[in-house]
Subunit: 467 residues, 2 copies
Amino acid sequence: MSEKKHLRDDVIATDEMAHGVGVDTHVVDDVRLAVAQRNAGAVEKTLDDLDPADAADVVEQLSAHETQAAARLAPDAFGGDVLAELSDDALEDVVESLNPRQIADAINDMEMDDAVQLVEELDKDFRAQVLQQLAPDIRNLLEAGLKFEEDSAGRLMQRDFVTAPQFWTTRQLIDHVRLSPNDSLPDVFYEVYIVTPAFHPVGSVALSALLRADRDTPLADIMTGLRAVVTPQMDQEDVAYLFEKYDLPSAPVVDHEGRLTGMIMIDDIVEVLQEEHTEDILALAGVNDAGLADTVLETVRSRAPWLLINLVTAILASAVIASFSPVISKIVALAVLAPIVASMGGNAGTQGLAVAVRAIASRDITSANVRRIILREIMTGLINGLIFAVIIGPIAWLWFDSVLISVVIGAAMLINLLIAGLAGILVPLGLKRFGADPAVASSVFVTTATDVVGFFVFLGLATLVLL
Amino acid sequence: MSEKKHLRDDVIATDEMAHGVGVDTHVVDDVRLAVAQRNAGAVEKTLDDLDPADAADVVEQLSAHETQAAARLAPDAFGGDVLAELSDDALEDVVESLNPRQIADAINDMEMDDAVQLVEELDKDFRAQVLQQLAPDIRNLLEAGLKFEEDSAGRLMQRDFVTAPQFWTTRQLIDHVRLSPNDSLPDVFYEVYIVTPAFHPVGSVALSALLRADRDTPLADIMTGLRAVVTPQMDQEDVAYLFEKYDLPSAPVVDHEGRLTGMIMIDDIVEVLQEEHTEDILALAGVNDAGLADTVLETVRSRAPWLLINLVTAILASAVIASFSPVISKIVALAVLAPIVASMGGNAGTQGLAVAVRAIASRDITSANVRRIILREIMTGLINGLIFAVIIGPIAWLWFDSVLISVVIGAAMLINLLIAGLAGILVPLGLKRFGADPAVASSVFVTTATDVVGFFVFLGLATLVLL
């Protein structure tokens, strides 16, 4: 943590901070100008004067090109404290512009989880050069970290933590912490893990409980049982769920023999939550990946594939319309009204889908309530179908002066909203069951269903009734 | 924290926990059965044997009706520790079934922020009865808490925290904590705030730094400047942003005179992030609010209003089609192809919208980069438009054997994807500028634009070129 600029004892400083939510765009402009003028000193000074988290925010505002230029000009402004705070995109741009020695220096200042994230952004050859610059023990830990899968708990854990045997008193633990060399302790920690002689964690002592206790109290008396233990293979979403559910400030990670091997901190989990949040929203909208510093071509590449899939499904829906060309050429009103039925179905399906995706992500849908929820979605589709059948019927009647068209669109609306209700819940549940991410591709399946059914039922009923 | 069942020193217990992500559905079934049999003892025992967070998860799996019955049968199983963990929906169902005395008992066991959240769920008259059962000091704090706006920092803060003057040594602070009566301290805390004689916070000391320091070190030497200070009026999203950016475990809250008045903890922020996440996804999909325990009628009520708005916009788009009835009745192919243009526009617009909504929420779009991002979205729309014009043109040609239709749909696709790119970024930015939530209603505006433009441009060009 930085102490710069924050130690004034007055209310104004407090007010400034309280209202300073967001990035100071003047600072961004300063950096941008300094980069354009190739003024290395100004780039370095401007970034160095900021809290590392603020410096990272400023860098994230730059374009990829500007970030690379800034890192080349003022590599010293991109130390481990700043790199640890950067988004993946910005990090990639920065490391491309640093040399192996500079990156190794930064890594030596970072927690292992942040260092692994950094090294992961490097090309294979470049990565080897960086690893060569590191002390063997750090290199080994980094290589071990890289072996864990992306998005696994192993990637989130740091290797520094504090342990104590159960039979110690609080005095012994406090002395142990005070006398440990600083680099053997994590920068910050909120609890101490109680371990057996075989190094299996059996409980934890919150630092606030430790401080409060009498000095002769055995740790066994103030320790609480572990509410969650993480393995390195666990998915980061599952880990986040445990933190959220049990209000954990940190969690122990154990290896396959149950021995304590790492610790995950809440601030890494907050990042995971934000990452998963972005992923869910983008997946539902059909975007593969998005960084604000992305170029136009990267942006096109992340969106065009899903647009192509949408084109295929749209052509499928149009083929349904085409098969009813004879009736449409006689009654143009059908071409006018059909998109309404399809659009309402798509919207209703998306509503159910969004609710289901969130409920699945927060583990609220289980075998204990899934039947009730499916039934509820079907009933909701039915009732909304009835409501909008009753609304659209008279409108169609007034518009085209035909009772039959009115009846046909009402019936089609009812059926399509029922299908929308079904698809909105069954598609994400089905994807989940097959091990897929329920947010990815759900929209395509649901809207394809509601488009095809909407056009087919409306035009089909019209053919039956009107011809 | 509960120590039940977790103190065995063996790997198996660890393994069980590591894999126990999610709710044990057998326990849900047990509670459900006990409720159906009106077996109060079994309901109480089953829930009491669980960690409060697990008990809350089990209750959230029940239907509203079952939850109410469980709370009436076994009110003692719904103490403050469980109520603090319940979702708003489940909490509402539970408190409806408890009497004022039972609720007051629960409140006495809760942190102030959780208690405020509970009291908020109560009807006015019932709330007054509950408040009467409380000690005057707790009642006053609760009433003060209720005066803060929903979703403000004031609602998140607890009133217990630990402070020390700057001139104390670590020994003095540690003694102060050890000798304070337990109920004057928060259950858990991660840092101590350093205050001036006027009670203005000027820094904080992490407990891990406190433990590590020599006993005669003045606190001034180990304190770090405050990276963020919160006011009770701040929006909870802004508070969450500060926690995320600066990796905070807790943050001090100051009143209008800058005096320390409360503390916000990271676990409340994790809840805020999840809440905001759900809100964003539901808002983008056009759902007002959603709880899994909601009845069918509540679900219909949360979705029908947006479907009604969608109906109006769909009719608007259909009116555009209707205005081209003469040309459609001559060339039915136009009715077949028009929905493709509209659908592609809707999808492309939604992609840009999702990216923009996330970037705005994480404060990544500022005046420093907004021009670049708008330009990027326009260019992306243009390039995707070119790509899909080139794809759909030949398809339309092969399908309907008409070069003119092929040219018309290609041009319409290009224009509509360009409009989609513009709408996808400008609509959320515009809503944000007018102080509205960029997620709410964005979809409606964007898809209305792409539907209307898609139909109008395609059918209009067709009229010009083909007739």
